[in-house]
């Protein structure tokens, strides 16, 4: 579904990604794990076109999207929920959500099963949003903001959803709530790609992990086998 082939990306003068290659299949949940500065966020921003890729190729469902602008990539069905949530604080929660729907490709919405509207589908992930959707997005707690950010990306009717740090800053009590939500999204047939600095959180939901270090893929495979690799173990546990 999504293939990265030897991607190199710079942030200003600094080369962050040194030839990253990945393959993500339809319906998978994949987590990119690594320490800070390993290149997780840079990989995500390269995929969705917020950072310009220097060399290499990214293809999505067979189409080369390497140097497309962010909005045309989003319209092709790649949703993004950033680590800082990136909510539009001058808009209400509802307006935040709706923005995604206006730019979703109608063809994808039409393909959904009968009786399953986009709206129903989004709200089934985090029904709590119904309770605060009229509020200004400034007046939300950290957990609520994350819910809105993920739901907003869901409104794009994506076939691939990128979530950066889904569990960061969440209290343990809320983490399990989010884990269930992610499972639900997976059941809808949406492919998930997550960036996680916390390996144990990532292994809760991911079918497969890529461990990054200094802009290179160090390990690729099942989360439970990752710790068998001494290099991965060293990086993730010190």
């Amino acid at each position: 579904m999504l293939a990265l082939d030897n991607i190199e990306t710079f942030r200003g003068p600094a080369k962050i990604l040194h030839g990253i290659s990945m393959k993500i299949e339809e319906g998978e949940v994949v987590a990119i794990v690594g320490r800070n500065g390993a290149g997780k966020i840079t990989t995500m921003e390269s995929i969705i076109g917020l950072l310009r890729v220097k060399s290499g190729q990214i293809s999505f469902r067979g189409e080369n999207i390497t140097r497309m602008s962010a909005h045309s990539i989003a319209r092709r069905g790649i949703g993004f929920s950033p680590g800082d949530c990136g909510l539009f604080s001058s808009l209400s929660v509802q307006e935040n959500l709706e923005i995604g729907r206006w730019h979703a490709d109608p063809k994808r919405i039409d393909k959904m099963a009968d009786g399953d509207t986009l709206e129903k589908r989004v709200y089934s992930v985090f029904p709590e949003i119904e309770g605060f959707k009229r509020r200004n997005s400034l007046k939300l707690s950290g957990g609520q903001r994350k819910m809105v950010a993920i739901s907003r990306a869901m409104y794009l009717c994506p076939s691939l959803l990128l979530i950066d740090e889904a569990f960061e800053g969440l209290a343990p009590v809320v983490i399990s709530r989010f884990r269930d939500a992610l499972k639900k999204i997976k059941e809808m047939g949406i492919t998930l790609l997550m960036a996680e600095s916390n390996f144990s959180n990532a292994s809760l939901v991911a079918d497969r992990v890529y461990v990054l270090d200094r802009g290179e893929v160090l390990y690729e495979g099942k989360p439970k086998d990752a710790m068998n690799d001494p290099r991965v173990k060293k990086i993730l546990q010190g």
Partner: protein
């Protein structure tokens, strides 16, 4: 009493023009964070293009009442100018410090100010022939040209349309989202480039419209843009930069103060105006309706 009514009408007339200029300035600042130094010059271009084209059409024998429909020509020309300047000149510099945009638009200002002289010459242009077909209204002892009501009405209608655009349309939501976080907006499928061109176009159009509708009552002269820019600064400083309602209230306040100032302290009315801006900024640094970003 007569004088008072006349002064109020004059203030409203002036406020309408100021609002058109300031709302465009504040729109561009709100969406792109650019303090467009060339905004006053856009206003001047609107006036000159309208004056020149109406003069040209009249010389070709077009009836005065028909000419009225060509007034917006100046505004359209400025909108096109703006929609060229934004993508070509400003867009490559959004990643850089704000000082560069200020400097670029200052360069555009210098070019336009001299460009106007090169193209239209330095003689003032006036197209007062479009006023007569509107007739005038008897108010107590004086006659007030109906055209001035058209100008006041244009300001009011524009204010309403802008409000509807910002808060009652999808484009408004998109515009507000983009102005807050353009990266995130583009990740939500919004074509930020298009939004920017449109916003800059609308902002420029408003300044051009101000110039276009004032030129039947005042001559288009070299340097009119510089004064307009400074007064627009005062309007948005008083009203609150980035706020459309602020631009409206600021325009009304500034127009009233200036009209009163010209009446009572003609020598230093401009100084009074700037002092009021100073006072407002001291009291509320973000202007009357601005909120601290």
């Amino acid at each position: 009493m007569d004088i008072f009514i006349l002064q109020v009408l004059n203030a409203l007339f002036y406020a309408s023009i100021l609002y058109l200029i300031a709302s465009g300035f504040t729109l561009i600042f709100g969406v792109m964070g650019i303090a467009n130094m060339a905004h006053g010059s856009f206003y001047a271009v609107g006036a000159f293009v309208t004056a020149w084209s109406l003069g040209f059409l009249q010389s070709r024998g077009v009836e005065p009442w028909l000419l009225v429909f060509f007034l917006p020509l100046g505004a359209i020309a400025v909108a096109i100018l703006g929609m060229l300047i934004e993508p070509i000149l400003l867009r490559p510099f959004y990643q850089r410090a704000h000082e560069y945009q200020l400097l670029l638009t200052f360069g555009v200002l210098l070019i336009i100010e001299d460009g106007i002289q090169m193209i239209f010459g330095s003689d003032p242009l006036l197209v007062d022939m479009v006023i007569a077909p509107f007739g005038s209204l008897q108010i107590f002892s004086f006659r007030y040209p109906n055209y001035n009501f058209v100008v006041i009405g244009t300001g009011l209608v524009t204010a309403f349309l802008l409000w509807a655009l910002m808060y009652r349309s999808r484009f408004g939501v998109v515009l507000r989202a983009t102005s807050q976080d353009m990266r995130m907006a583009s990740a939500m499928g919004i074509n930020v480039g298009k939004v920017y061109v449109l916003a800059f176009g609308i902002g420029s159009f408003l300044a051009g419209l101000g110039g276009a509708i004032i030129v039947p009552t005042q001559t288009a002269v070299v340097g009119m843009g510089l004064e307009a820019l400074i007064i627009a600064f005062v309007v948005v400083a008083v009203g609150g930069i980035g706020s459309q309602l602020g631009a409206l209230i600021g325009a009304l306040l500034v127009a009233l103060v200036r009209t009163a100032g010209v009446h009572f302290v003609p020598e230093i009315e401009l100084a009074v105006l700037f002092l009021i801006a100073v006072g407002v900024l001291l009291w509320r640094p973000t202007g009357l309706l601005g909120n601290a970003p």
